[in-house]
Symmetry: C2
Subunit: 282 residues, 2 copies
């Protein structure tokens, strides 16, 4: 299992605060010590930093915390390997180009059987993970159905949610996928989000003694959506995703919540074990 | 114009020594201050660091010099923009996946008219450069002719050299392209290479007061090919490329030198101006 972190904004924002919390889980406060990756978009192009070292100990991760990069969209992942050994080719986020844009993808869960979904040869995994295979299959479906970006973004989101549901039949499929403009976030077992907007307040990390006063670093029109496997702060109201739904973010806003297949067996087990307990911390 | 640096080896090697010399040309001893990039392969996967800042002043470039990454193949580029503004999407090296491997590409020169070469939609430029268009056109030709990697690597090299010659009809086309296993290096106006192997000796950078004793950091069977727009050291015997030829490197050795189209007008002008002067420093 792994942890995901995504950010989508209406104004260039750095992800240092959230990434600091996530990084602690990569080998320090969490067991996710098998590599990490962080993608930043600049328009249609992504820079992707990946490192097979534990995030909490990685000099490159420290460098990125010390040299903030502002972006409208970012996707991060820390890995605890289930399939595929620790090597660069197996490190999320994965990236491909479609329609002259980069697309990045990071997955939490295991969909081993998804490797039986046939690929046409346009997108081929470089590594051994089921995750990258699933990403390639999603992109091949998108490219096959839509020769060019559809004018109706809702049609694309709906198709992605449907195909993601197909992949999810093979296991647990929480993922983040973004093209720098729209961020797709599918919840299977666990995914949370928060939209920070005016009036801004302070927030404190769950995993490290760091507090930030967002009102001091924002303007009233700023809007930033953060998606994560587990809430990263302890004093904000995060919204929990429902199993088998996909959130669609654009310019820092949640613009759609779509059904995406059926809840996985694991999600149903988690829900059952929590029966009687609140499913949201709101 | 820009400067290129490539490395292909038979044993994992860091590129810090050569990159240190190249980096100085990115805004310090040279005018190539419009961004830079450095790709490292780990098997079939590449990590690509790109930065729109001048290389000589870039904290990320300094980080990479201080944290050497060993690799069998690396491609670097520092940019002085001729086409396309300074932005991440226009920063070399470019990367795409073909046959489940990453391919990286960096270009020196201008082939503006190559944008008229038609693309089929499988590989589409993310930025505005003629360079990325040329790369996409090369990959589309490769993917169209070879559905899978040909058993005969020579057939692939020959095809690449031929298609590169077509692109070169549109201007000046020095490039490095690698898939982590084979490095293709086409010379139009300027490209040099050296193969370092036993017995190793010392070398001193042209652009900075740095000397390395390779015999202290190698084993007798190591072999490292370095390709660069201009020789990076002042006390080694670099071999100059002939206009309209393409070198093919594999495991640190020059395995082929192929004809690739016709010399460009610019290459002919340079040759004419040098008539009477040595064309190699051997």
């Amino acid at each position: 299992m792994c942890e995901l972190l995504g950010m989508d904004c209406n104004t260039p924002t750095d992800i240092v605060f959230s990434f600091t919390g996530l990084a602690r889980r990569g080998g320090a406060t969490g067991p996710h010590a098998d590599g990490w990756g962080l993608a930043f978009f600049d328009g249609p192009a992504a820079r992707v930093f990946i490192d097979p070292q534990p995030c909490a100990l990685s000099p490159l991760a420290a460098f990125l915390r010390e040299h903030p990069i502002k972006t409208l969209q970012s996707v991060a992942h820390i890995r605890r390997k289930t399939r595929g050994r620790v090597r660069l080719a197996n490190t999320h986020p994965f990236v491909r180009e479609l329609w002259g844009r980069h697309w990045v993808f990071a997955h939490n869960g295991t969909v081993k059987g998804a490797k039986t979904l046939p690929l046409r040869g346009r997108f081929t995994p470089v590594g051994q993970t089921d995750s990258e295979h699933a990403f390639c299959w999603l992109l091949e479906n998108i490219a096959h159905k839509f020769k060019t970006p559809p004018a109706d973004g809702g049609e694309l989101s709906g198709s992605i949610a449907k195909w993601a549901g197909k992949i999810a039949e093979h296991g647990t499929f929480n993922f983040l996928m973004g093209d720098g403009s729209t961020l797709y976030a599918r919840c299977d077992t666990r995914l949370w989000h928060i939209v920070r907007k005016a009036p801004f307040s302070t927030a404190s990390l769950e995993d490290e003694d760091v507090t930030v006063d967002f009102s001091a670093v924002t303007t009233p029109r700023d809007r930033v959506a953060i998606v994560a496997t587990r809430p990263l702060t302890k004093d904000e109201r995060w919204e929990r995703g429902q199993p088998a739904t996909m959130w669609v973010f654009h310019k820092g806003a949640l613009v759609d919540t779509l059904a995406s297949g059926a809840p996985s067996e694991k999600a149903l087990r988690i829900l059952a074990s929590e029966r009687g307990a609140p499913v949201s911390d709101r």
